[in-house]
Symmetry: C2
Subunit: 379 residues, 2 copies
């Protein structure tokens, strides 16, 4: 194996593959990045066994020629050092040459690194997925879906399915749902797919989606999602992102969402957000995150929180509208704040169904997002 390559293009490729590599893996070879050199270009692969990333640098494209291939071959080099070394290389191009059995010489300008590696034959093969269940949507939309759901997954391993986001498809509509059983976030979007395609119980680990989100940009470029029984593949330009799926049955969430409430409040997202941040100063200290809310007449909401040690805060927000019965309820302020940060709409509606029943928070200007919260019982 022997090639010279544009340093900048190589850095980008190595950094992308490196995003899947975890230093905490128990499988030594997965601390490496696999480099596969063929006449058409160079493939770089990183994996932590849950997530795998395969990225390809073509020999050339419309813009420029990126490399000169002297000899094809495969190697696995230690990701941590390899990625830092290429990033710190001084020249416009760098040369990588196999040097002995499992080591490489990487040189650029006046700098020569000798770097040890692993036997490439031991690197696990990436899965070959049947492309039967395929969905297309723009990158920025997938990025939004992830941002607006993944925060609500459970961080506890007691119910593993809840650490993932549930994806379902019906009538060309994708619904993504996450819940930790105290709160639920649901986002729906239209997607391009076969109109007969129905998918249910596809649960993608939250960690995989968070990692994927770091690779996605805000462009209109389409991303292709391929779903199988055990794996999901996100296909972008020159980049494949594989994730395993979570085993198990996701709870049925559609019937949890109340259709009508006893009290409905409409108010500016930002006002509630800032008010809760102040309330959380004290309820975080009390370690229970409890915030109290109460309606005053038909235009005012009172927010209150208390910490026996530190003090208390009380403030009022002007609502656009309050309909229905008088309201007094307590909730986990942090959960609401997490959700508010993902709502891009300026006005939200809150729908309450009773002091001890779940309540709904929704943007006012569209129906594609629902947040559901359990209230907190206070004595």
């Amino acid at each position: 194996m022997h090639f010279s390559i544009d340093t900048h293009a190589f850095i980008t490729g190595v950094q992308n593959a490196n995003k899947a590599v975890s230093s905490r893996t128990t499988i030594p070879i997965l601390t490496g990045i696999k480099i596969k050199v063929e006449t058409k270009g160079i493939t770089l692969i990183g994996s932590d066994s849950d997530v795998s990333i395969e990225t390809f640098i073509p020999k050339s494209d419309e813009e420029q020629t990126y490399m000169t291939i002297h000899e094809e071959g495969e190697m696995v080099l230690q990701a941590k050092y390899f990625s830092e070394i290429v990033r710190k290389m001084p020249g416009e191009t760098l040369t990588l040459e196999k040097d002995g059995n499992m080591a490489a010489t990487i040189s650029s300008g006046n700098v020569v690194f000798h770097l040890n590696g692993f036997d490439p034959d031991n690197y696990p093969k990436l899965p070959q997925l049947e492309e039967e269940q395929v969905i297309l949507l723009p990158q920025h939309l997938l990025k939004d879906i992830i941002r607006q759901t993944v925060f609500a997954v459970s961080t506890q391993e007691t119910r593993p399915v809840l650490t993932g986001v549930h994806f379902s498809i019906k009538n060309r509509e994708l619904t993504a749902t996450a819940t930790d059983s105290h709160r639920l976030a649901m986002r729906t979007v239209g997607v391009e797919t076969d109109e007969t395609l129905e998918i249910n119980n596809v649960i993608i680990p939250g960690k995989s989606l968070t990692e994927l989100s770091r690779i996605l940009d805000d462009s209109e470029d389409m991303i292709t999602i391929v779903v199988t029984k055990t794996q999901v593949l996100f296909k972008m330009n020159h980049l494949l992102f594989f994730s395993r799926l979570l085993d198990g049955k996701f709870p049925l969430t559609s019937n949890m969402i109340p259709s009508e409430g006893k009290t409905t409040v409409t108010l500016p997202t930002k006002a509630l957000n800032q008010s809760l941040e102040r309330a959380m100063l004290l309820s975080r200290e009390a370690k229970n995150n409890v915030v109290h809310i109460k309606s005053i007449g038909t235009t005012e909401i009172e927010i209150m929180s208390i910490s026996a040690e530190v003090g208390k805060v009380k403030e009022s927000i002007e609502a656009q509208e309050i309909n229905g019965a008088e309201l007094q309820i307590a909730f986990n302020g942090k959960n609401i704040l997490d959700a508010l940060k993902t709502i891009d709409s300026e006005i939200i509606s809150l729908m309450f169904t009773g002091t001890m029943s779940p309540f709904v928070v929704q943007p006012l200007d569209h129906q594609q997002m629902i947040h559901l919260f359990s209230p907190v019982r206070t004595s």
Copy 2:
């Protein structure tokens, strides 16, 4: 105690006083900020017993009137909550009123906080310093001096004096010296002071200087330093920064610095910096930070480092000039890198006195900075 104040001015004052407060103090009242309200303005004090900051907000200045004082008085409020609360207040002005024995009501816009505090009578008094030994210099220069020495203090408590920076004054010249016994950083500057003033063995804790540095700006505004036997005071506009001094005798460093060497190398600071960063990728892994350097002829320097597990790196730097005997030496690359980052000059000179003797790194364009390093013995 009762006043209304411009929120922005109050935030700045509270944040400054809060910089001295440590959450790890064992003295409960020092988790608070002392507020002293008088007709002329408001004084805010924070302290962790090593460092104390007193900041003053005048009732008004040329630009505007900052407050309305309804009643004078003193309080101590919990720093952590108090500083966050004022920062998150919605209105242009906020009102603070004593409420019961040791609590305050802080309100702004529709928001009302009740915050518990401490008995202000228990707050320690700040020292009254005799202004006999006084030095003046511009803020930006003091900031430079700190940046260029404090990185070299010892982080180990085995020799407490080495955790501080030694300040001495003679002939209107201030010399700041820090050493951890493997490396030494020394910076001299001219200062305004009584020409007969001689100060020696004033050792300011590195931590205090790092904290002070965060308050200093890059302006030409003069800062006044008052030195006593046990305390130092830095006086800025409306802000007093007190630090205790370290007890003990600082090692005599002036005779450690060799006056002439066997080999002198002149080269660009940036080239050596980048080269050492690459070398450190491997020598950090080897956990010894050892980098080898060797002269090749009269214009080239070879930098090499090695890690048995990962690999090795070798590169050459073009020197402007190499004079004297052939050179081959090993050193702690991290220590040199730390020093290079504080040298603003483009060209540096390295002076070596032998494989096992300390060597000097200096900027080429002025004489006000010296870095000294012990070499590393390699087998």
